[in-house]
């Protein structure tokens, strides 16, 4: 499935809301399969996070971003910045579904000489705008891109996906203040609130709530949504059009680790989830059963 057109799909003359929902949900389902297949090659990995964020990424790549899949350096593209390097597995699935990288290449994920390393890096992968790995960098770079594009008169949007863990970093809030100060209406932050960090549940690592009120106080147009509810996600992104033209926007997405695979949704939450060899097929089967319901 390849998205070849560079039109803005959310434009009024575009497809119906139901069509958009179906397109996004179908892509998210295939992306989850890609994630399980990539995870199986490594025998482990950030599969739980990737299943959780699949719907958010599908909305971005199937519905929101203006891209030319065959020309990842097109100057007028929207920039999607993955702050969270370890979420690369999720982004590779999205890039494959968007037609930026071939689906067959996904099986090289995390292998020597692959263009798809475990941690996302711009120098390796077409469509990967920045190098992640050290958390808390994306929003600052996003501020610079948004400033630079506006300065050059380029109408592209800059979208930064960050994690709830990245809200621990002072650098994120420096960037948040900078974005509001510079009136960057062309910057959108998307926060994956999966309630998990390396040492355990986010609430026990560092209390970051109330997250909406923080972003609002920092001068951002703020919406919060169930990040595994595709229609709700689409409505949330559509609603950003109501924001003042020069106000940066944030979509706070509450997601479920392992979403779509009950076996993993119910497992004790772990930053680095272990999945036994025989469980990969069970996970795939559960994913398909869920899709039929």
């Amino acid at each position: 499935m390849t998205a070849t057109q560079d039109v803005d799909r959310a434009a009024p003359a575009g497809p119906s809301f139901e069509d958009r929902v179906r397109r996004v949900a179908d892509a998210a389902h295939r992306m989850r399969h890609h994630v399980l297949n990539m995870g199986e090659v490594q025998g482990q990995g950030y599969v739980g996070q990737a299943l959780g964020v699949a719907d958010v990424l599908a909305v971005a790549y199937q519905d929101q971003l203006r891209l030319r899949p065959a020309d990842p350096h097109w100057d007028e593209r929207d920039r999607f910045l993955l702050s969270i390097g370890h979420y690369a597995i999720a982004l590779y699935a999205a890039l494959a579904e968007a037609g930026v990288i071939p689906v067959e290449e996904l099986e090289t994920y995390g292998s020597d000489e692959s263009r798809l390393p475990m941690s996302g890096m711009a120098s390796y992968t077409p469509g990967m705008e920045i190098s992640g790995g050290s958390l808390g960098h994306g929003l600052g770079v996003g501020v610079g891109m948004a400033l630079g594009l506006r300065h050059r008169g380029v109408a592209s949007r800059v979208v930064n996906l960050l994690s709830d863990g990245e809200l621990d970093e002072g650098s994120t809030w420096e960037a948040a203040m900078g974005a509001a100060h510079h009136r960057l209406g062309n910057l959108t932050a998307v926060v994956d609130m999966n309630a998990l960090q390396a040492d355990g549940p986010t609430a026990g690592v560092l209390a970051i709530e109330p997250v909406e009120r923080k972003w609002e106080a920092f001068g951002w147009h703020t919406v919060r949504v169930d990040g595994n509810d595709v229609p709700a996600l689409l409505r949330a992104f559509d609603s950003l059009a109501e924001a003042d033209a020069d106000t940066p926007r944030v979509v706070i997405c509450d997601t479920r680790i392992g979403s779509g695979v009950p076996l993993l949704e119910t497992r004790e939450k772990a930053h680095f989830m272990r999945i036994d060899e025989h469980e990969w097929q069970i996970a795939r089967d559960q994913l398909d059963q869920g899709a039929q319901r």
């Binding site: 071939p102 090289t108 020597d112 000489e113 475990m118 941690s119 040492d199 690592v205 560092l206």
Partner: protein, 331 residues
């Protein structure tokens, strides 16, 4: 675009191990050593920045929950707060990955802890090339960053024995310290030698007439293996283990430098600013002019990949070390 299909070596990023096959190991030596020390010294506290489980600090946290402080993934706060705790009379050990302690939080370590000369102990995981995760996690220049910080003690331990002995020794050092952490199942090597860790002291683990390998960190383990292998080539190799990079044991280094043997520095760090350059400047500044062969990581951002592949590619494997010595000897 190429899509390789041959049998794949995978990154296994966060559980990558440099342990040789069949090698004896000890679980979480840092965490257990800190826990034991805390039983004797009530002023010891532990902090981490969302990496307790990944720096063996979780062992201390389980044993001493009331003396463990989870600071969130906020490395600047981690080091600033550690300094604050030292200001009010505690002895903090603060753990994160080496890259974040050095790159992200340098200013906080420098001005909050080092300038006032506080007893703040930084514990950095994944030093040098100990993960295949790419430059974001490979602390290839941590020593280069830190060597210029006045008053900082820098320790690069070889194994579990070194770590167990270094933890109480570093707590005794009045000023700030930086320990290059080896975590998880850590090789146990030095108990076979007549060795004790002492801050600022290098140790001759093995003597040899032809070559001296001057090594630190996990590369001392490789140096010892290489020395065994080189004996099969009738090359007699000594090993000087230099666990304290700063302050350097200049006497031991000068003794080796003044010998007529081939001297090879061996480190898990960039060729810029690490043990090799510390040895070179020590010799040159003391009027000892001689050749040195540096075995170190190249001055590059390294690739992502499986750790054994990378150690081989960048010259840290025992095979590559043996070859380098033979080449230098033109054998």
């Amino acid at each position: 675009m190429s899509t390789p299909t041959r049998k794949r070596l995978t990154t296994s990023a966060m559980i990558a191990s440099f342990v040789d096959e069949g090698q004896r190991t000890t679980p979480a030596p840092f965490g257990h050593a800190l826990s034991r020390l805390a039983e004797e010294r009530p002023e010891i506290v532990g902090l981490t920045a969302d990496l307790g489980k990944y720096t063996d600090m979780h062992v201390f946290a389980q044993d001493h929950p009331d003396r463990f402080f989870q600071m969130g993934m906020s490395e600047q706060l981690l080091l600033g707060a550690a300094a604050g705790m030292a200001e009010v009379g505690l002895v903090p050990f603060a753990s994160t990955y080496s890259v974040f302690a050095t790159r992200r939080a340098y200013d906080f370590l420098c001005l909050d802890a080092a300038e006032p000369g506080l007893n703040v102990n930084i514990v950095g995981g994944l030093p040098g090339l100990t993960t295949g995760y790419g430059p974001s996690h490979q602390a290839t220049e941590d020593i280069a960053i830190l060597r210029g910080m006045p008053g900082l003690t820098i320790v690069d331990p070889c194994d579990s024995v070194d770590i167990e002995q270094a933890v109480p020794a570093l707590a005794e050092v009045a000023g700030p310290t930086y320990l290059r952490l080896l975590r998880g199942k850590v090789p146990t090597v030095l108990d076979e030698y007549d060795y004790t860790f002492e801050v600022g002291r290098a140790a001759e683990l093995r003597t040899g007439r032809d070559v001296t390998l001057v090594s630190s960190g996990l590369m001392t383990m490789r140096a010892l293996s290489a020395a065994e292998r080189l004996a099969e080539h009738r090359v007699d190799v000594g090993v000087l283990h230099v666990p304290t990079i700063k302050p350097l044991d200049t006497e031991a280094v000068l003794r080796v430098g003044r010998s007529d043997r081939l001297v090879v520095t061996v480190e898990n760090h960039s060729v810029v600013g690490g043990l090799g350059e510390a040895v070179a400047s020590c010799l040159a500044f003391n009027g000892v002019g001689r050749d040195l062969v540096p075995v170190a990581l190249p001055d590059e951002f390294l690739a992502a990949g499986a750790l054994p592949t990378l150690h081989d590619r960048y010259g840290l494997s025992t095979d590559r070390l043996v070859r380098r010595v033979l080449d230098a000897l033109e054998v």
